[in-house]
Amino acid sequence: MLLDYDRLGWLKVALLGFTTLVAAFLLLPVVFIVLLSFGSSRWLAFPPPGWTLKWYQELFADPSWIEAALTSARIATMTAILAVAIGLVASFALVRGQFRGREVLRGLLLTPMVLPVVVFAIAIYAFFLRLGLGGTTIGFVVAHTVLALPFAIIPIATALEGFDKSIEDAAIVCGASPLQAKLRITLPSIRIGIFSAAIFSFLASWDEVVVAIFMASPTLQTLPVKIWGSLRSDLTPVIAAASSLLVALTLALMIVTALLRRKLQT
């Protein structure tokens, strides 16, 4: 290959340096927050004068944090289920369908990914206010599902495109009804895509803050909203602890996904 890494010579060093710089730029704030969450300074001083776990103790002692985390988990789980269900049906239409406007529909379903979130948030806030859905779990889930849909459709549609329809036909000739063939053969065959879709849509809801701020009520807050609110009222290292836990869970899910994908592919 023209740009073979082994034959780059001195460029190799430059490339390595640049890559490290970019990675550091992306990761440093996260590392910073995690370090602060263990620092003993109440004023988030850096470097921390000493190390402590008391912010985590405070975090777990406060039921409003726990509740926010549970709310987030509940909404993200429902969002994931809904997004995967709709994403699955939509993917079949987008990949297998032969109808006019298929490409338009594909574009429409993927718009939430490119639309500025704040625009979407204001629009759906105004809309849900009229429907009386503002500040409700259903409102949260519906809004997050719209945002999560592209993250569900892309992996499922990709998996479905890579799945030979002849295999489904073979199941039908074998005596399975078209629905049975899809449930027993096609879905298990594209399970990596479905699984990725579930994780990605869970995360799309789990760490979403803009729409959540508009949707939240004093009694219904997700973890990112709670962090955002606390940040504005009192700047305490408990926020750093909560943020670290948020990052930790996201990271854990990504690792689980990677491991499972590897296992499923062999």
Partner: protein, 358 residues
């Protein structure tokens, strides 16, 4: 009405302005191995897919034991099918793949177990039961697909170019397997291929498709030795076509004048020709001899090239009219140096030559 096991009646399939299958009518007796042979786009696969139920014919009917199949959905037709592409269920083991049609039929577990074991031994893959399809070679995958298609004792087995993705040696190996399995199970097989050798090797009868119609149907010998049209003659086996002018036909034996002016008589005439009509004389490369023998017709040629191909030689020769022809005498007929680059006559039996309209 008929004794036919499977009967295709005036099957017609049009895709918009394009007619893929043109009123195909065909009777297939029980236990027959019938091959649909033809170039791609000749309608052979479309006909097969109409029998499987994946294509709805525009008109016509498909009858199995005098009952129409067309109103029966694919999954209730109880037909076995092996596809061109590898269609094993990727997440199921070999044994579970073979068991799948039995499981959807809710057969008792003991029967499923027994049948899977029978089928895997039929295709000689007993030791691969627990493997996943990804761990099998292409040939093994198609054998499992065959076992799966036969597991529920379907009355008909459809095979859509099942060996086209395999290399030549493997293809021949599995052809032998398919022949053996046909012999052992007695299942009626409809086989689609564009490979004439495969068709000749496997089939009881061959239906040669061209542009959505059956050009000729018969045994391999019929098609090779008694081609009905020049298309059949050109598709099955190798053939030389020489321009000829028809002079007269008496009792099916024609006399023609070749382009170099020589006369040949005693030729098989396919159809009736008028005096002076332009025709094409078909002679198989193997039908040429280098010695006169008895009643051999003579053709003066110039030898252009001689190559050794094991049991036969391949000779490229040029006729007096300047046309290059393909001659394949047995290797023992003459030594290479005796024929290379010389003007000499070659001979053929007019009874093995056929006359077609130009």
């Amino acid at each position: 009405m008929t004794q036919a096991f499977l009967s295709i009646r005036k099957l017609h399939k049009a895709f918009g302005a394009f007619t893929a299958v043109h009123d195909v009518t065909l009777d297939i007796p029980k236990g027959e191995f019938l091959t649909f042979l033809g170039p791609s786009g000749s309608g052979k696969s479309t006909t097969l897919y109409a029998i499987a139920g994946f294509q709805d014919p525009t008109s016509g009917d498909v009858l199995l034991q005098d009952k129409s199949l067309l109103s029966v959905p694919s999954h209730k037709r109880n037909i076995g099918m092996v596809f061109q592409r590898y269609t094993l269920f990727p997440h199921l083991s070999v044994a579970e793949n073979v068991a799948f049609p039995l499981r959807v039929r809710r057969r008792p577990e003991a029967e499923v177990k027994r049948k899977v074991a029978d089928m895997l031994s039929l295709v000689r893959l007993e030791n691969f039961a627990e493997r996943l399809p990804a761990a099998l070679s292409g040939g093994q995958q198609q054998r499992v697909a065959l076992a799966r298609a036969l597991a529920y004792d379907p009355p008909i087995l459809l095979m859509d170019e099942p060996l086209s993705a395999l290399d030549k040696k493997l293809r021949e190996e599995i052809q032998a397997e398919i022949r053996r399995i046909h012999r052992e199970t007695g299942v009626t097989i409809l086989y689609v291929t564009h490979d004439q050798e495969e068709a000749l090797h496997l089939s009881d009868r061959i239906a040669l498709f061209r542009d959505g119609r059956i050009e000729q149907i018969g045994t391999g010998e019929d098609l090779y030795l008694r081609p009905a049209t020049d298309f059949v003659a050109g598709f099955i086996g190798n053939s030389n076509f020489l321009a000829a002018e028809h002079l007269e036909t008496v009792d099916g034996a024609a006399t023609v004048r070749l382009a170099d002016g020589s006369l040949v008589s005693g030729i098989n005439a396919n159809g009736s020709f008028q005096r002076g009509q332009k025709t094409r004389l078909m002679i198989r490369p193997e039908a040429f001899r280098l010695d006169q023998g008895s009643n051999g017709a003579k053709l003066a040629v110039e030898i252009v090239d001689v190559a050794f191909y094991g049991e036969r030689r391949r000779i490229v020769a040029r006729t007096g009219a300047g046309q290059e022809i393909d001659i394949r005498p047995t290797s023992t007929a003459l030594a290479a140096q005796d024929v290379a680059s010389s003007h000499r006559p070659v001979f053929f039996d007019p009874g093995a030559a056929f006359l077609f309209p130009a």
